[in-house]
């Protein structure tokens, strides 16, 4: 889907290359005829899984006491740059509670403050602004979860990766420590990779 959008976007922005683009598009469509239906399904599953993982992480992470001044407030998962996942997440947390706290999903836009958020998911489209977001999140002890390659090196705590067409994740203990988050060893046990030491 994203590839197609990107393609159309290009055509709109660069008319000079119409022919080449058309050929490429035709080729793409041709390929799509075989694969797109399956790809659509796979992507939907990926979003569902990521959404499920996101709120499940909460059970294996211990936030510092100061980070959570208001225990009666809902446990909030902020999502930025991934509307599809946010939608899935809203569905997944419906009716669920985390240690008697309601779970809320908050869609964030660039520049919005991060107050009251425990988990922040940074979508691939916002990966460019990751550094900025991390700087804001780390002092607030927000668990930052990303889905971009190399995000851990930048300071993300958990980063989704695809392995063997399955959603896995990798963890950076250093980043968690900087955010004063304690991750359960049981979570580490199922992580694809646990990184320690400075990036």
């Amino acid at each position: 889907m994203e590839a197609v959008t990107f393609l159309f976007g290009r055509r709109r922005n660069l008319p000079a290359r119409t022919l080449r683009t058309a050929i490429f598009a035709a080729l793409s469509i041709f390929i799509c005829l075989e694969q797109c239906a399956a790809q659509d399904d796979a992507q939907a599953v990926e979003h569902q899984v990521k959404a499920a993982f996101l709120y499940k992480f909460a059970g294996y992470v211990k936030w510092p006491d100061s980070a959570d001044a208001r225990p009666d407030a809902p446990f909030t998962i902020g999502v930025i740059g991934a509307d599809a996942i946010a939608a899935e997440l809203v569905e997944a947390v419906a009716g669920r509670k985390l240690e008697d706290r309601n779970i809320a999903v908050k869609r964030l836009k660039a520049g919005e403050p991060l107050a009251g958020i425990q988990i922040l998911f940074v979508g691939r489209s916002e990966a460019a602004r990751l550094n900025q977001l991390l700087q804001a999140a780390q002092p607030r002890s927000i668990l930052v979860v990303t889905e971009s390659e190399g995000a851990l090196a930048q300071g993300s705590v958990i980063n989704f990766v695809m392995a063997d067409r399955r959603v896995r994740f990798e963890i950076s203990l250093d980043s968690a420590e900087k955010s004063r988050l304690k991750l359960s060893s049981r979570l580490l046990a199922v992580a694809q990779q646990v990184r320690t030491g400075t990036p």
Partner: protein, 507 residues
């Protein structure tokens, strides 16, 4: 074997130790086995529940983050528990998520769907399902399949118990062999000494005291007893020797006495037979003398009678008077000879023993006497006389003699009185005849019953002097006695006894 056990304290002690050990082990082992079997399933269940909890907790993140590899790794750790045959993790949708099967475990298909929480026995296996709950949410089910073989376990246990018992009994046997030496050795020593004492009769032997316990005390007591027995035996032997001596002496004395007795008896019997012979000779002599005297006497009397008849008128009064005296004296002599004959005949005649009514006999005799004598005016008191057994004729003679004596000697009294009665003691009847006649001088009492003995002049009281001798002889032949009491002019009492039980008619 049993004989040996019954005969020796050693074996008994060993048996006691072994039996006690055996019973204690058996009871303890049985209790242990029963307890264990009872708890086996529960323990196994508890164990599996714990295992499932651990598995569930370890596998919860794997379920949450869909990481079967991690779950499989967790399950693979069960390889150290060969009793767990298979294990599985089902996800929240009931799909088998991860599984494990023991290398040598019996194979069985995994259930297609997890069952409710709990365990159940299926053949030789115990199946357990346990929900995995994470953050208040059921994320899956842990499944365990484990071997459940109580009989195998019982077999193992019994094997172990048997082995332990065998070893324990062996150890106990060795211990008892070692220990019992301390207990039985002193006893065996005492026993040995006792056996020697019994065999050799040697009371000077002593048992050695080696311990200060009850056995030591026993040894002391045994030795004391031996000493005491020795002393007693010695005293007994001495006493035996003196007794033997005494017995021998007594036997000798007895022998002497027997000899003397035999000699005496011999002499008595010789003398008796001599006496009997002499007596017989005498009786025969007196009989023949009496008999032979009768013939000339009859001649004298006969011729005196003929003289009076034929020549009476020719004789003067004086001659007549003298012839009458010859006649009287001749008759008197005839009576004497008759009495003598009767007396001597008595020794030869056998008694005719019959039941006798003595009252009747006395009464009849008295009636006869009344007829002969003029016995009116006699105060006669005849008491009740006990019945007896005897010769009717001879006892009638006794009554006749005694009663005629009484009538005769009381006839001079103005008021003659005769009492006939009897008393009975436990052995004999005592009959008596009492009169108030002339009586007699007690000095001559011993002569009363002699033949021809007379205390009164025959002119005063006629008689031959044979009557009482005859009475004595008859009563003696019946086994009784006679005696008399009396004083001059104050009457006399004549007694005779007859035994209650007569054995025979001989004297």
């Amino acid at each position: 074997m049993f004989k040996a056990i019954a005969r020796s304290v050693r074996y008994k002690l060993a048996l006691v130790v072994l039996a006690a050990t055996f019973v204690a082990l058996l009871v303890a082992g049985t209790a242990l086995v029963l307890y264990d079997l009872r708890n086996y399933q529960r323990q196994l269940e508890n164990d599996l529940v714990t295992q499932a909890e651990i598995l569930g907790r370890a596998s919860a993140p794997a379920l949450a983050f869909e990481d079967p590899k991690s779950a499989n790794e967790n399950l693979a750790l069960l390889g150290v528990r060969p009793n767990i045959y298979a294990a599985g993790i089902y996800n929240a949708k009931g799909k088998l998520f991860a599984s494990y099967e023991g290398r040598d475990a019996p194979r069985a298909a995994f259930p297609s769907l997890p069952e409710a929480d709990g365990s159940r026995v299926a053949g030789n296996e115990l199946l357990l399902f346990k929900r995995i709950v994470e953050n208040g949410e059921i994320v899956g089910t842990a499944y365990l399949r484990a071997g459940y073989e109580p009989f195998e376990r019982l077999k193992d246990y019994l094997g172990i118990l048997g082995g332990v018992m065998a070893l324990s009994l062996l150890a106990a046997a060795l211990m008892s062999v070692w220990l019992q030496a301390a207990v039985t050795k002193p006893i065996l020593e005492v026993t040995d000494v006792a056996r020697q004492v019994m065999e050799r009769r040697d009371f000077s032997l002593r048992a050695r005291k080696t311990t200060q316990d009850e056995i030591g005390y026993l040894v002391d007591a045994f030795n004391d007893m031996l000493a005491e027995v020795g002393r007693r035996a010695e005293a007994l032997e001495a006493s035996n020797r003196s007794l033997e001596h005494e017995v021998a002496e007594r036997q000798r004395a007895d022998e002497d006495r027997r000899k003397l007795n035999a000699e005496l008896e011999q002499r008595v019997s010789e003398r008796t037979s001599q006496l009997e012979a002499a007596n017989k000779e005498l009786e025969g002599f007196s009989y023949s003398v009496s008999h032979d005297l009768r013939a000339p006497l009859r001649g004298i009397i006969g011729f005196a009678d003929a003289l009076m008849e034929d020549h009476g008128p020719a004789l003067d009064e004086e001659a007549k008077r003298k012839i009458a005296i010859v006649q009287d004296e001749g008759r008197r002599m005839g009576v004497l000879i008759d009495d003598l004959l009767a007396f001597s005949r008595l020794g030869r005649k056998a008694l005719q023993i019959v039941d006798l009514d003595m009252s009747k006999l006395a009464r009849t005799t008295l009636d006869g006497l009344h007829a002969q004598h003029n016995g009116q005016g006699v105060d006669l008191q005849l008491g009740t006389l006990p019945q007896t057994k005897g010769d009717r004729v001879l006892l009638g003679q006794v009554w006749a003699n005694l009663l005629s004596n009484a009538l005769k000697f009381s006839s001079k009294n103005g008021k003659p009185q005769i009492v006939v009665s009897a008393v009975t003691d436990e052995k004999e009847h005592i009959y008596f005849v009492r009169d108030n006649g002339a009586g007699f001088d007690p000095r001559y009492q011993s002569k009363l019953f002699g033949v021809f003995q007379r205390l009164h002049d025959s002119s005063e009281f006629p008689g031959t002097g044979v009557g009482l001798a005859l009475v004595q002889r008859i009563v003696n032949r019946h086994g009784g006695r006679v005696w008399a009491e009396g004083k001059p002019n104050q009457g006399a009492t004549f007694y005779f006894t007859l035994p209650k039980e007569r054995i025979d008619g001989t004297v």
